[in-house]
Symmetry: C2
Subunit: 233 residues, 2 copies
């Protein structure tokens, strides 16, 4: 298995993912939110690029909720923000979630032509690794167009899990991230202490979100993006 | 001082470097070649994107040599390849070098609008760090459009040297590379054992080049790119 890692959603544009399993990671917080929502029984998640698109779609849907963020905060008029802690069973079970976030939902849309597009976070990394077929390209969503250390650390963990189950050939960026994970796995929070995105969420008071997003291998749900919709595999 | 790192030459395109010192790194081997040539008395180095441009310019120049590579090997009809060991004093002193390489010379041209564009490698990293003013954006040249670990390790070293002389604010990618360097500084060769570009040069027999390129802080020459020409600062 060949493993490559792309540092940001923007860099995924124009790449041909044919023959690849693409794994999109936005640890803080989109892929953690989506994994949590599906794990708690949401029927599907529809990722939208803009607030306007999300509102238009919502107007045509039954049994839907609007979720997401701009500048890390809940969008005015939406039902839910971008905290995975909001996506509890009692709130999301059986619902269609229409989600728009700054980085993660764009990253999902930027992956074109892959055999399969799956979403990973720390909470489901092991299940994602177990389900991976073909060669794997990991797309780190990034923050504000730049590489984000939290996504990279999760990519490094995913690579470690893939290494444990098959023979792999890893690109230079993947080697760097896998090494980073192996040196940090006993203290993920500490390894991310300088991370711009984490510090920003911390300053906004999202400490419980960060803690939740850094918990590893606690759910088995693997979100799959196909034909505009994300469902549990 | 703010420090950012860009993983590949391609990603430097379209970025506004205004107010920045841009530091271009192509350890294996363009920026090592250029540093070595200027340190050995070359009058100037003119980086060209294509072989055809290099040949056309050469036809109009006195006292010039053509150097560079395609697929890591010397270009047919050129005077020199891309091994820094070829760029000895007796060969290059007083000469204009017209250079075209696959990654490094393109990376230099992709940086637009910076206050200053300097070239770094392991051999001159300390002098580059001492000369840096303003905020710094490090551009790793990469290999075949992808991030290359050798450039990243050198970027991590440069960041460490900058940290020792001033207060810095480092982006996520820079934090990762600085950490990588600090964990690897006693065995740079070992840290790069999985690096695609290094393995490729090794397989082609360029072991002495690699060894030379990984020697640290042995020259004080800082190449500066201005108005199409690279000269010693």
């Amino acid at each position: 298995m060949r493993i490559s890692v792309i540092p940001t959603a923007q860099q995924a544009q124009g790449i041909n993912f044919s023959g690849q399993t693409a794994v999109v990671i936005d640890v803080l917080r989109a892929t953690t939110v989506i994994t949590t929502a599906l794990d708690n029984g949401a029927h599907e998640v529809i990722p939208m690029k803009t607030v306007e698109e999300a509102q238009s779609l919502y107007a045509t849907c039954d049994n839907a909720l609007r979720g997401g963020e701009r500048n890390a905060l809940k969008i005015e008029g939406f039902d839910l923000g971008n905290s995975p802690l909001e996506y509890k069973k009692k709130t999301v079970e059986g619902k269609t979630l229409i989600l728009t976030t700054t980085n993660g939902t764009n990253a999902i849309h930027n992956v074109q032509g892959a055999d399969e597009v799956v979403l990973a976070c720390f909470r489901n990394a092991e299940s994602v690794a177990c389900s991976a077929r073909n060669d794997v390209t990991v797309v780190c969503a990034g923050t504000e167009g730049r590489f984000s250390l939290d996504d990279g650390l999760c990519a490094g963990m995913l690579i470690e899990l893939l290494k444990q189950q098959t023979e792999v050939e890893i690109d230079d960026f993947g080697l760097l991230l896998n090494r980073f994970y192996n040196e940090s796995k006993n203290n993920l929070f500490g390894a991310l202490s300088g991370c711009y995105h984490l510090k920003r969420l911390f300053a906004l008071g999202f400490y419980d979100d960060i803690k939740f997003c850094l918990e590893t291998n606690c759910v088995q749900t693997v979100p799959v993006f196909q034909a505009g919709r994300i469902t549990a595999k």
